[in-house]
């Protein structure tokens, strides 16, 4: 028993002297509780919805007033007026809008004449939770039109037709962009951060530093090798996942090229981020301790598994600062929507900006001496 207690004493002493381990042990569960607790199952809010009123009669104005009331109160969607149906649908495909409501011509006349006019709701079904929430809210809205609090003598009836803009997207397709980004991130953690610190602690870097290799060459070499591994990892998961999830038209050359660009940009940003974090760390325990926290902080707020529209405000802010968010959005847009690279310019810009910031920071922090 005394010998066993000696081992216990040893471990307790090491535990107390390893702040990174303590940090991970205590902070990780709390971070997970807060992030995961808020990242799933929240009410979908602030979904961007274009409204095209082709009627302009008194009943259509009533519909629009109800839509704006939802935008101001429940805030399930944020309506934006469009004059041109084509422009609204283009923005829907680009991802600027998540839904488009079209009030058809002669809506007011048809309603008054009991011809049951149909409102059209076109949803971006690449995110089924968002599309479902907007559809449910609009169904409630149409029900309120059909059954007002003060019933008229002769009630009019409107109907809602929900149209999904893309072919049926199951959850595996929805999850695939997140899985690709996660594969890149895990490679960045293991093949980038962990290997870098392990090599450093084993003294291998000392062997490089006595050679004429410059600081820039060291930074470039470490990052480039990490990026190559991350791209290989991301591409493998992308191709395997696309086959398993049966993504339509996946192997179109231009599409593959665009997706590869997005994988490469994500790899540069995440490897750069990892290098920035690890630039001054020497203790091999630290990366092992913080990777769980990093994973929770970056992956779950990215919208990879649940829509950002369902997050509370503070988590949406976090999501906006998370490079993972742009990687997931960019990959999802290119994978599941039949749109070109112009639809992901914001994502490309965000990933390039992240890369520039983290690599500049890492260059400042990285020391060529021991």
């Amino acid at each position: 028993m005394k010998r066993a207690l000696a081992l216990v004493e040893r471990d307790m002493r090491k535990f107390r002297r390893s702040p990174a381990l303590l940090f991970a042990s205590l902070v990780l569960p709390i971070v997970q509780l807060i992030i995961l607790g808020n990242a799933f199952g929240g009410n979908i809010k602030n979904v961007t919805m274009g409204v095209v009123n082709l009627d302009r009669g008194p009943e259509s104005v009533g519909v629009l007033e109800r839509v704006r009331a939802v935008g101001a109160n429940a805030r399930t969607f944020l309506p934006t007026d469009y004059d041109d149906e084509g422009a609204a649908l283009r923005d829907l495909r680009k991802g600027v809008l998540s839904a488009v409501l079209i009030v058809p011509q002669h809506y007011s006349r048809d309603l008054l004449e009991r011809h049951q006019p149909h409102l059209a709701l076109i949803t971006d079904n690449t995110d089924r939770s968002v599309a479902g929430a907007v559809g449910a809210q609009m169904s409630d809205l149409v029900a309120s039109i059909n059954a007002p609090e003060v019933p008229p003598r002769e009630p009019a009836q409107a109907a809602l037709d929900v149209v999904e803009v893309y072919p049926y997207i199951n959850y595996i397709k929805y999850l695939l962009p997140g899985s690709v980004a996660l594969a890149i991130f895990v490679t960045a953690m293991i093949g980038g951060g962990l290997l870098f610190i392990d090599d450093k602690s084993r003294g291998l870097h000392e062997g490089y530093m006595v050679t004429p290799i410059t600081k820039w060459e060291l930074i470039l070499g470490f990052n480039l090798s990490g990026v190559i591994k991350a791209i290989l990892s991301g591409e493998t998961v992308l191709v395997m996942g696309a086959i398993v999830a049966e993504v339509p038209n996946f192997f179109q050359p231009l599409r593959v090229l665009e997706l590869t660009l997005m994988v490469a940009l994500t790899s540069v940003a995440l490897i750069g981020l990892m290098f920035f974090i690890m630039a001054r760390i020497s203790d091999p325990l630290v990366p092992r301790a913080i990777f769980g926290v990093l994973n929770t902080l970056l992956f779950f707020p990215s919208g990879a598994v649940y829509p950002i529209a369902g997050f509370p405000r503070w988590l949406r802010v976090m999501s906006a600062c998370d490079p993972f968010t742009y990687a997931v959005h960019g990959l999802r847009t290119l994978l599941l929507k039949d749109v070109g690279i112009s639809a992901v310019t914001t994502d490309i810009f965000a990933l390039v900006l992240t890369s520039v910031l983290v690599l500049s920071g890492a260059t400042l922090l990285f020391r060529r001496t021991l």
Binding site: G207, P212, L370
Partner: protein, 338 residues
């Protein structure tokens, strides 16, 4: 800043008042010395004396707090890249990659010096042959014994045929056979015209056997510097004699101090004495006669020449094992005293 410093052509290394401080700890304290081109120069001292910190400053791994050094004609602070091209370093830690083969380790290191293509393959083969690892060229470094791994490190340090080679504790942790093998290799390394070797060691026999000149390092300072022979002759009493009588001498140490060549006497107890003498064999003869004169038995008598151990003891006032290890501030062990 590629201007070559105006050092004398026969000086490979010129250290100019170099110091290194880690927080409150002064690891290297205003050290100056020169190393001549083509010589094997040793820094001898216990662990924690500051040898490794000194070598890390000279190899541009750790910036000095003050002072500087000119290595191969270039200032380590002003022009570290020019220094790095001209030096080879075999660090104390094994820094070859255990997950790569011997040939891969050498090949990748060669590329870091801009050696590519056929020249790289040729150089790798030459070096593996030179260190006796040609038959292990495709073996992972992790599968090598300690001695083999050290030989691989030496080969790696030589990949670009450097003018100056730094070896930090080259035989620490090796078994006696491997030590001898590494010693032979170090002796052969100087065969290259004009190559200079600077090594650190805490083994007296290693410094004695390999080095043309030795600097004794203690608590971050050089306390003595000369050839091993000159250092040994600088210690009063060229020989050390230990003698035990039975029973004891009538006047103890005073009887021994009266002998002509004896420089000092230290009573060790139980009628045993340690004597420093200028003429060991003659003093031994006198001790035999003294015992006979007093009708005493000589229980034991041993005569040893002065070693670097004695030199170290003489200059530092303590033996290698008695060196109190200074506390290195937390988080600075990488560049800490060695």
């Amino acid at each position: 800043m590629r201007a070559k410093q105006p050092t004398a052509p026969h000086q490979a290394i010129e250290v100019l008042g170099i110091s290194k401080r880690f927080g409150a700890l002064l690891a290297v304290d205003n050290v100056s010395f020169t190393v001549k081109t083509g010589e094997i120069f040793g820094l001898l001292g216990p662990n924690g004396a500051g040898k490794s910190t000194l070598i890390r400053m000279l190899t541009t791994l750790v910036p000095p707090t003050s002072g500087t050094a000119v290595v191969a004609g270039y200032d380590i602070i002003q022009d570290p890249d020019a220094v790095r091209i001209r030096i080879g370093v075999i660090p104390q830690n094994l820094t070859s990659d255990p997950e790569l083969t011997c040939a891969e380790n050498l090949g990748i290191h060669a590329r870091l010096y801009g050696i590519t293509g056929a020249r790289r393959r040729e150089r790798t083969r030459e070096l593996l042959e030179a260190v006796g690892l040609l038959d292990r060229a495709d073996a992972l470094a992790s599968t090598l014994s300690g001695g083999m791994r050290r030989r691989l490190e030496i080969a790696r340090g030589l990949v670009h045929d450097p003018q100056i080679l730094f070896l930090d504790e080259p035989t620490t942790g090796l078994d006696p056979a491997s030590r001898i093998s590494v010693w032979e290799m170090i002796t052969h390394l100087r065969a290259r015209q004009g190559r200079t070797l600077l090594l650190t060691t805490h083994y007296m026999d290693e410094a004695d056997r390999l080095c043309d000149r030795v600097a004794i390092v203690d608590r971050g300072r050089i306390v003595a510097l000369d050839t091993p022979v000159a250092l040994k002759s600088s210690v009063p009493g060229a020989s050390r004699i230990e003698v035990q009588f039975a029973p004891d001498l009538p006047h103890g140490a005073a009887d021994l101090e009266a002998l002509p060549a004896v420089k000092s006497v230290r009573a060790l107890g139980s009628a045993t004495y340690r004597i420093s003498s200028d003429r060991g064999p003659a003093s031994a003869q006198e001790l035999v006669e003294l015992a006979r004169e007093h009708n005493l038995e000589l229980k034991s008598l041993s005569v040893q020449s002065t070693s670097l151990d004695d030199v170290f003891l003489h200059y530092t006032g303590h033996g290698l094992a008695e060196m109190p290890e200074p506390a290195v501030p937390a988080g600075r062990t990488k560049g800490g005293r060695g």
